[in-house]
Symmetry: C2
Subunit: 427 residues, 2 copies
């Protein structure tokens, strides 16, 4: 193997113990919030049939599919979990009691040129409600999202959630172009506004390539409409009697009841890049606006139909593991997570080994985390190792202790020592 091969494949990560502790800390908080909200954990294979993820709207997530052919199958590493969940719901549709509250923490993959320093895999906390058309589902999900940022130690003002409604956008688009098939591709282009700028978006909407070909003035109007903020401007954009506006008003009212009014607001520029959203869409970002989105989601009431299932309302969000760690680092909220070890048991030599084994096993049976010194070490080295491992205590079992039927226990923080009787042999 060449030296370069000692690295993981480009865009992927190894998790050494300290990395894994941070990952577990994050996932434990996601799981704890999901549990409090009554969500059940699920999972699906990291490899799926590529066809499950392929759609026609030109989404970045599909263009970057990590796919390959193997033994006549066209397979892909999942870029997102939602289509797999949809497949699982369809497979048991009729037998599952609705609404489902499901969560997962899948690893997802995308094949992106790694030049931007972005990774090709990430973990994403997914929370979805299946079978509930009412925006009370969106409200619960958004409350859980903030439940997580709170549980991770962020202040209430650190994260803002902006929301909009695909139905509102659809109304605006329909007025300039009634073709049904262009709406999803238009959403995918509008979502790039922040990344590529207004001029490039207008170009993609009106240009000869890409198949949308809006009149240039209509494209400019559409982009201008995305600057609407707050419910009053939403109402102007929506026109009278818009069901989308009704959803937005009702959702903001519910979020007020959760005590979240100050953290959320209408923002027409929130479109989200997935083609399949049909209703409310939202994204959470750092209040400073310096980082990419922490989390994003929305309602996708027609996904099951599009995959061949019976119609079923659904809404959910994904919350990645990358940007939240950047934000926690910036806010100095990353936890100290030292290794935890209750005790080291150190036999001076082979003659003390059996007694040390009995002692280690006795402590473990009590639930303690115990490192037994392997092989033969000098006392100085054993003490330095125990210190380095962050052990609370070291049990020294030397010839003298063995004769007296005890272990010498040293508390590593204080250096204080006392004797404890050695246990009898395990049965």
């Amino acid at each position: 193997m060449s030296k370069a091969e000692f690295s993981p494949p480009r865009g992927t990560r190894d998790f050494y113990p300290e990395d894994l502790r941070l990952r577990s800390w994050l996932f434990d908080r996601f799981r704890e919030v999901a549990r409090r909200f009554g969500f059940e954990e699920v999972d699906a294979p990291v490899v799926e049939h590529a066809e499950l993820f392929q759609r026609k709207a030109g989404e970045e997530i599909v263009e970057q599919l990590y796919h390959f052919h193997l033994h006549d199958r066209h397979l892909a590493l999942r870029p997102e979990l939602t289509p797999s969940l949809a497949r699982m719901v369809i497979a048991r549709q009729g037998a599952l009691r609705l609404p489902l509250r499901w969560f997962a923490i899948p690893q997802c993959w995308r094949y992106e040129r790694a030049t931007r320093g972005r990774r090709r895999e990430h973990y994403q906390w997914n929370m979805d409600v299946w079978g509930e058309p009412d925006v009370t589902a969106e409200a619960e999900l958004i409350a859980a999202l903030f439940g997580a940022t709170d549980a991770l130690g962020l202040a209430a003002g650190d994260v803002k959630l902006r929301l909009s409604h695909r139905g509102l956008l659809e109304g605006v688009v329909r007025r300039v172009d009634p073709r049904e098939e262009v709406f999803q591709p238009i959403c995918v282009v509008l979502d790039k506004l922040e990344k590529i700028g207004a001029e490039a978006v207008v170009e993609q909407l009106s240009g000869a390539t890409g198949g949308i070909r809006l009149p240039r003035a209509a494209a400019e109007d559409l982009v201008a409409g995305l600057s609407a903020r707050g419910l009053a401007e939403a109402a102007r954009l929506a026109g009278p009697g818009s069901p989308a506006l009704g959803d937005l008003e009702r959702l903001l009212g519910l979020l007020d009841a959760y005590g979240l009014a100050a953290r959320v607001g209408f923002d027409a520029s929130v479109v989200r890049g997935l083609a399949y959203y049909t209703g409310i869409v939202f994204e959470a970002r750092d209040a400073g606006g310096k980082l990419r989105a922490l989390a994003g989601g929305g309602r996708y009431d027609r996904l099951l139909e599009s995959l061949g299932g019976r119609p079923l309302a659904a809404v959910g969000f994904g919350f990645g593991d990358a940007v939240i760690l950047e934000l926690l680092a910036e806010k100095k909220r990353l936890p100290e997570l030292p290794r935890r070890l209750d005790a080291v048991v150190y036999p001076f030599g082979d003659a003390e080994r059996a007694d040390a084994i009995h002692l280690a096993e006795t402590l473990r049976a009590r639930g303690e985390s115990v490192e037994l010194v392997l092989g033969t070490l000098k006392p100085k080295r054993a003490l330095a190792d125990a210190d380095h491992a962050g052990a609370v205590r070291i049990y020294l079992v030397g010839p003298d202790e063995r004769t007296r039927g005890v272990a010498k226990v040293r508390e590593l923080a204080t250096g204080r020592e006392h004797d404890e009787p050695l246990p009898a042999a395990a049965s």
Copy 2:
């Protein structure tokens, strides 16, 4: 999508909530035992450079590699974790304090014809010690392995561990064929004894194909030698002064100190199918011998060198998630794992929604798992759903309760009811 596509790809699994609860129960026990033994959790990418896994010995694990070409890279879904761990150790060799006690629960993949009903992915609990040449490391690992079968509720007699030593086998092989390059391929063939029978093994060792070409009589002697059981026969096989025999004797003595003497024994037929083992090899099986191996492992002191690192002693085992669940099912030790939900909060209508939200959020802040009824449900349906979800209590918030500033609390097991004051709004 065709109806067949609602299944996960052949040989892979979906985890619905009840499946995920069982998986978490199993993994939690693996993690708890690893913690008690002072092991630290690590992880590596599920996709690696294919070259990391490719060896020349004809192992099944390499033949079944799930590999593919993508953008000029030759990648593979990991069939095992050990080479990734070796890569991680090499990348930081010199900076890591030895010995390392690392564990992981990776999902591993192999592309096997699924006709035998075997899966193409499984999870495997890996426990490895890096940097300790002494068999005290093997003893700790084997004690942890039994720690897990105990923690999973199996009886002491349910699982037996058989062990042997590649060095002992190597001595026997060298006497009939001194060529260094044939030893690993011979091990790979000998490992198939149980699966394909003695005659087929002799054929593969002595036949024209496969490149080993032992004299037929030597091949037969070798296979006959695998029937040795117990230390006395090991000594006969090893010849005087064998270091391998010394390791075996010392390890069995240590396991006696752990109270495991009745569960372990020498068995020359244990070879293990991985080419890279160099010392002690072992496998754990159900005592009835009906199932495949539950776990297997051994010492691989030359793997780091072979990958380009500096020499480093290492030993470890893998413990899969499939056979243990079969054994637990057979022994009727699979746990009942119902969904756990503390409470359902049920607002009768929109007028009670805000109060219900405050109540749900108050209970959640206390750590309770709370499902808030979404949308508008009839009381009968809300009660049936709460029952079905296994909730302990349901909080009924109707117009009458709201007027009185209370929720009616019904304990679902007994039907007993009492009132509790509604909390004030969230700040």
